[in-house]
């Protein structure tokens, strides 16, 4: 047995023959599949994608999609309790991952090919023949409730800020609640709700099966056959209401005892990766705020020049960080938004930094991107995107997303098309899709009242530095930033205690 394991692990790093083809089988009447065979690769990765998400939660049952799918990923099957599953998975270092977004959810798993049969037998039963035990339900619901009620509000201000932005941006919209739901809705959910949701949505034509790696040729047909046992059916594509555009600066402040302020800014955009303009806008936003990279102009101005916080970024569409700093896949949406993420900074500097970020946005919209920055950002994206899909799971994920957006291979398309984009294209996209006057702004801070007063009064917001010899040009720019006018109307600023968020859908009532 021991020798066997050694041998398996040796195999794990055997030569992997490079894959030449991926094969998508898009079938509107049955299951769709994406296969990426990599002969000799000792791993097999799965992505079981569902074209449903939290936007499919019925009103009053927010969090139902995530809770239902968590019951599959983290609960027992009919034949095995979750305890038995964990015991069987453990020696294989196996698990089932789950990510739920607004309109897509995905189960993931990677396993050594020698354990494929054992793993798949359990994995299949978890998904296709779930146990739906009350004790699993209680455990999983408690965990989800705990996330919404305690962790999100208390422990993770950066994520909290992004979630508040989502609440403002999508008030009354199917996207307008956190995937995990609200305290009130979660408390009301029952095991029967789970079973009904599963029956309605876990159906053949909602499912896209992705398999990659060194699986035997007979494996995918077996998977397709197994999943074909699911009832036929399809959840109609959501007909989403038009995204509500902000009128002026619409601000929501969550107040809590904290030394640091988290800020998220955004607005809906009528563009996605499917759009021919997307790459042009991507270059602009990458220049303005590439995620966790020095390239980001906001990072340079706010962090590098002034040392205000740990980082400042911007996104052309919905972004979730996946492996390392690369974008996660399979969180595609019909409707998209532009956003800015300002990481926590000292409360004393919150007004100044908000002004600074909005002033930079205004400059971007009015002046466009300089030619040299266009060139360097385009080169950057050409090279950086080469690192996007290094693992089997990532490659599957990008292939599935490619189909969603209507490409054969989105990343290959990026390589080709970036070269054809001109400086003018980028500046045209900026003018067309971005603005600086109508924005949603989410802030988490202490003493919200004084912030609101200062914002409405447009009070000057000078800052001081530990460094007595700050560069002259920085101080000169500061004098402009500290009085940069923000047109904040008192009726457009809502304040609520942080603990009131996520109790019910929407923004909590003002005190």
């Amino acid at each position: 047995m021991r020798n066997n394991i050694h041998w398996h692990l040796g195999i794990l790093v055997l030569i992997m023959t490079f894959v030449a083809f991926s094969c998508a089988k898009l079938n509107p009447k049955k299951l769709s599949t994406e296969l990426l065979p990599v002969e000799g690769n000792p791993l097999v990765s799965f992505r079981i994608l569902l074209n449903i998400g939290s936007a499919n939660d019925p009103p009053g049952k927010e969090g139902l999609c995530q809770l239902t799918l968590s019951m599959l990923a983290n609960g027992g099957s009919k034949s095995l309790t979750f305890k038995e599953i964990q015991k069987k998975f453990y020696p294989m270092a196996a698990s089932v991952g789950l990510a739920v977004d607004k309109e897509m959810s995905v189960f993931t798993g990677t396993i050594h090919v020698d354990n494929l049969e054992k793993y798949y037998a359990i994995f299949k039963d978890m998904l296709l023949d779930p146990g739906f035990r009350q004790e699993d339900f209680n455990r999983i619901k408690t965990r989800q409730l705990n996330f919404v009620e305690k962790n999100l509000v208390s422990n993770m201000d950066e994520q909290f800020g992004k979630e508040i932005l989502n609440l403002i941006m999508y008030e009354g919209h199917p996207y307008g609640h956190n995937e995990a739901g609200t305290v009130e809705s979660l408390k009301s959910l029952t095991l029967d709700d789970i079973k009904a949701f599963c029956k309605e949505h876990f159906v053949q034509r909602n499912i896209f099966i992705g398999i990659a790696g060194g699986y035997p040729a007979e494996f995918p047909p077996k998977v397709v056959k197994d999943f074909s046992a699911l009832p036929d059916g399809k959840t109609p594509k959501l007909r989403l209401p038009e995204q509500r555009r902000p009128s002026g600066l619409e601000i929501v402040i969550a107040e809590k005892k904290t030394p640091a302020t988290a800020i998220s800014i955004g607005f809906p955009v009528s563009i996605s990766k499917a759009d021919p303009d997307y790459l042009s806008l991507w270059i602009a936003v990458s220049h303005f705020g590439e995620h966790r990279q020095h390239l980001s102009l906001l990072f340079q101005k706010i962090r590098e020049e002034r040392g205000q916080n740990y980082g400042d970024y911007a996104y052309a569409d919905h972004f979730i960080q996946g492996r390392d700093k690369f974008p996660a896949q399979n969180c595609c949406r019909q409707q998209q938004y532009f956003s800015i993420w300002i990481r926590p900074l000292a409360n004393s500097n919150r007004h100044f930094v908000l002004r600074q970020a909005l002033r930079e946005l205004k400059k971007l919209v009015e002046e466009g991107i300089p030619k040299d920055r266009f060139e360097i950002t385009r080169t950057y994206l050409l090279n950086y995107t080469k690192l996007y899909a290094q693992t089997l799971e990532e490659r599957l994920g990008w292939q599935i997303d490619s189909h969603y957006y209507g490409y054969q291979d989105f990343l290959a398309e990026v390589q080709k098309r970036l070269l054809t984009i001109t400086h003018e294209d980028v500046n045209r996209a900026i003018k067309k899709y971005l603005n600086f006057e109508n924005l949603y702004i989410a802030m988490i801070t202490d003493d919200a009242k004084s912030l609101k007063e200062a914002l409405v009064a447009n009070a000057p917001s000078p800052i001081t530095y530990a460094n007595p010899n700050m560069p002259k040009e920085v101080l000169e720019e500061d004098r402009v930033i500290q009085i940069f006018p923000l047109d904040v109307k008192t009726e457009k600023v809502r304040i609520a205690p942080a603990t009131d968020f996520f109790q019910k859908p929407g923004i909590p009532k003002i005190e």
Binding site: M1, V13, T142, A466
Partner: protein, 447 residues
């Protein structure tokens, strides 16, 4: 309608690592080690994954090296300074270089080491990367003003972390458990020391001279390159660098003689947390203690363990239960962590953990359970090795410990030798109440 779409993938998307196989080893890749005259050690792992290279500079200095009062967090602070550029390649030019390269790049600081990495596509870029990285390590230039501007960034990073209760608990636990050793503080450091960083220009130079020298640094390069070519570049650009010959003396932690306890009132509502720590041994590829305790932690606290099943799955008193015993150069803490549903169960969960530890002294772990844990360790480790960055990133931590990649194979060989009797013996040796520190955190009581 069924439609098959063959897609020719561009080369960069292709994952394929093809090591010269030594199939019985957990770390199966062939590697070469060379040392320059100035003490700079180079570990190269050529892999057949087309086009991607991971270039790691491992500085064997972390918060462990912050032995002087008032200097906590300095290794991490200096990591930030390392991005300030040189006179040859000022910060802006360095950043532009990395931007054009489209590299995935960053640094991180741990208790024992600080690591800088550049992950990039294209072996044709290797020389420029070696040249630029060598320049910034050898010729780093910054002035007092840069220090003053960068220091508040650390303050921001600290603020970003204060909303995390697990970080607060970890800070408290270490501060309570350690008396003398620099593991007493976290890598971010104490807030009072962070606030004084703007005034630490002189110390920063001392720190640089001590630790940012070739005899304290290892280069680890994995991916698509030719070893001889790599070495030619490294010799060309790093040979002029002078040794520091500095020897760090870390304060010896005195044996703990009585049980300790501490509590943190977290300002916001949060799930109650419990951490129970015992002083344990340092990393070793030879002595059985650390290896046996690693396996003990997994047999008794992993998701398939009886205690986890009882507290998390069946009774549902805990939302999470885990054990951690990260490898360190000096003796460190074996920590059992629990996140609870309800504060009223804190004492119960604490008792259950101590009961389990007592049981481990009296009953040997079943052979089949131990075999499952060993299997899990290997598959988990192997799962990390799917990309160049997985190989380099996983190995970096081990290389810091012993400077030799072979330590991974020695460690896993040692795991193989661990018996239920060894685990029982280690439980008796380390799990004494007088050697324990219990830290708790509850939230929402401060107005």
């Amino acid at each position: 309608m069924t439609k098959f779409i063959p897609v020719v993938l561009t080369t960069f998307l292709l994952l394929g690592i093809s090591p010269a196989l030594q199939s019985s080893k957990v770390f199966p890749f062939s590697y070469k080690i060379e040392e320059l005259e100035n003490g700079l050690k180079v570990i190269s792992i050529p892999l057949n994954n087309p086009n991607i290279i991971s270039y790691y500079s491992i500085v064997r200095s972390g918060s462990r090296n912050e032995v002087e009062a008032g200097k906590s967090g300095f290794a991490h602070f200096f990591e930030h300074i390392m991005f300030k550029g040189t006179k040859n390649v000022p910060r802006k030019a360095y950043e532009d270089f990395l931007t054009r390269l489209g590299a995935g790049t960053n640094g991180y600081t741990t208790d024992d080491y600080t690591c800088y990495f550049v992950v990039f596509a294209g072996r044709e870029n290797l020389e420029e990367v070696v040249k630029t990285e060598a320049d910034r390590f050898i010729n780093l230039y910054y002035d007092e003003e840069m220090i003053k501007t960068e220091a508040p960034v650390i303050e921001g990073e600290y603020y970003a972390s204060v909303s995390s209760p697990s970080r607060r608990l970890s800070e408290l636990l270490r501060d309570t458990a350690f008396e003398k050793h620099s593991y007493k503080h976290t890598t971010l450091g104490y807030l009072k020391d962070i606030l004084d960083m703007p005034n630490q220009f002189e110390y920063s130079q001392l720190y640089k001279n001590r630790f940012y020298a070739p005899d304290n640094i290892i280069l680890l390069v994995a991916g698509d390159f030719d070893h001889d070519q790599l070495m030619a570049y490294i010799k060309k650009y790093y040979s002029g660098w002078k040794k520091s010959n500095y020897t760090l003396v870390t304060p010896k932690e005195p044996p703990q003689t009585k049980a300790k306890r501490a509590h943190f009132d977290f300002p916001s509502k949060t799930s109650p947390m419990l951490a129970i720590a015992f002083h344990g041994p340092a990393y070793s590829e030879e002595k059985i203690d650390k290896a046996a305790l690693d396996l003990l932690a997994k047999t008794s606290f992993s998701s398939s363990s009886p205690l986890y099943q009882k507290l998390v799955i069946e009774e549902q008193k805990c939302l999470a239960l885990s054990a951690s015993f990260s490898d360190h150069r000096d003796p460190y803490l074996l920590v059992f962590n629990a996140t609870l549903k309800d504060e009223k169960d804190l004492s119960y969960v604490e008792e259950e953990i101590f009961k389990e530890l007592e049981r481990l002294k009296n009953e040997p772990v079943p052979e089949d359970v131990l075999a499952d844990v060993k299997s899990n360790q290997k598959y988990s480790f192997a799962d990390e090795l799917g990309t160049t960055d997985g190989v380099a990133g996983t190995l970096a931590g081990y290389i810091n410990l012993t400077t030799d990649p072979e330590t991974v194979n020695k460690l896993f060989d040692l795991y193989e030798k661990v018996t239920p009797g060894d685990i029982q013996e280690m439980a008796k040796k380390y799990f004494n109440k007088t050697n324990s520190t219990v830290a708790t955190l509850t939230g929402g009581k401060i107005k």
